[in-house]
């Protein structure tokens, strides 16, 4: 019986030492912490932050025609669109108001998939915390600005990144 007890003690000690060696080894391995505001991770292409409105490179206008498909497709009703139809001097419809309520948006990509005019893209802007809730409602100028300053891609269905 004594032998059994001693064997147990021996095994227990051995495995305890092994476990401690694992933690000791980890003392020296490189850390995976990233000091966030000082250092940043490279976000992969297609990483979803918030949606942004695409600006036509030639004309400098929004691609959006205010058809409202994105607003209908949004599960949480985060998008508000007011369309202007047939105004003087412009042939196309355009959005008078295009508000994106980031307090509701869950960044699901459904609006981008629904958009038939290549006007919405998913940008990698994720630093959108604000002191005031009202500041989280982005209007069309802000959304265009985000598109200009951030990486944005459009993935709709089936293609490669």
């Amino acid at each position: 019986m004594l032998g059994g007890v001693l064997g147990n003690v021996y095994n227990a000690t051995k495995s305890l030492i092994k476990g401690h060696l694992v933690t000791l080894k980890e003392l020296r391995t490189p850390k995976i912490t990233v000091h966030y505001p000082d250092e940043r991770l490279e976000l992969p292409l297609g990483s979803r932050g918030m949606p942004a409105l695409k600006v036509n490179q030639d004309t400098g206008l929004l691609n959006c025609t205010a058809c409202g498909v994105c607003a209908r497709e949004c599960p949480v009703d985060a998008i508000e669109v007011e369309a202007v139809v047939g105004e003087k001097g412009r042939k196309k419809r355009y959005p008078a108001i295009y508000n994106l309520d980031m307090t509701h948006c869950m960044q699901c990509n459904l609006c981008v998939e629904a958009c038939p005019f290549d006007a919405l893209e998913m940008s990698d802007a994720f630093e959108i915390s604000r002191y005031d809730l009202d500041d989280l409602i982005f209007d069309k100028e802000q959304l265009a600005e985000i598109w200009k300053t951030h990486k944005a891609v459009r993935i709709t269905g089936g293609e490669k990144l």
Partner: protein, 158 residues
């Protein structure tokens, strides 16, 4: 697999002449039973046919009546059985199957919360997901009134 379904169907028709037994296109045996015999049917299915694993009890509100859907598996025979029981929506009382499958306990409590179906012989009939002092009705019924503020329509044309 279908052999077992045939066997199950045969036994069920033999034992309960009144019930509607069919097979769905997804390979499950479906039984439509009147609510009076649900306790007997459950016991028969559990003990004679070895359907021992109750996965869920779901309520559905078809406006004129409520329906309870029991999905039961047989871990031995790899068979699935769906029992559907219609319940009157005004006076929704049905026998509990919790004594037969212990796991039905919480599922029935949930159906009680959400649809207001009373289960006779349930060991612990208290609200489970809703607060104990909930007065707002039964949320999953179609006539449930959501009192939260509504958002206005998001798409307009000028």
């Amino acid at each position: 697999m279908s052999e077992i379904n045939e066997k199950v169907k045969g036994r069920l028709i033999e034992q309960f002449p009144g019930v509607e037994v069919s097979e769905t296109e997804f390979g499950q045996v479906e039984v439509k039973a009147p609510k009076e015999i649900i306790a007997d049917l459950a016991r028969f299915v559990r003990e004679e046919l070895d359907f021992d694993y109750l996965t869920m009890v779901a309520g559905v509100d078809y406006i004129e009546y409520l329906q309870l859907v029991y999905h039961i598996r047989s871990l031995k025979d790899y068979a699935e059985l769906i029992i559907k029981v219609d319940v009157d929506s005004e006076n929704a009382v049905v026998a509990s199957v919790a004594p037969i499958w212990t796991g039905a306990n919480w599922h029935e409590r949930e159906a009680m919360d959400m649809f207001g179906i009373q289960f006779e012989g349930h060991p612990d009939p208290r609200p489970i997901l809703l607060p104990e002092d909930w007065q707002g009705g039964h949320p999953l019924r179609k006539d449930f009134i959501d009192k939260r503020p509504k958002r206005e329509r998001q798409f307009r044309t000028r």
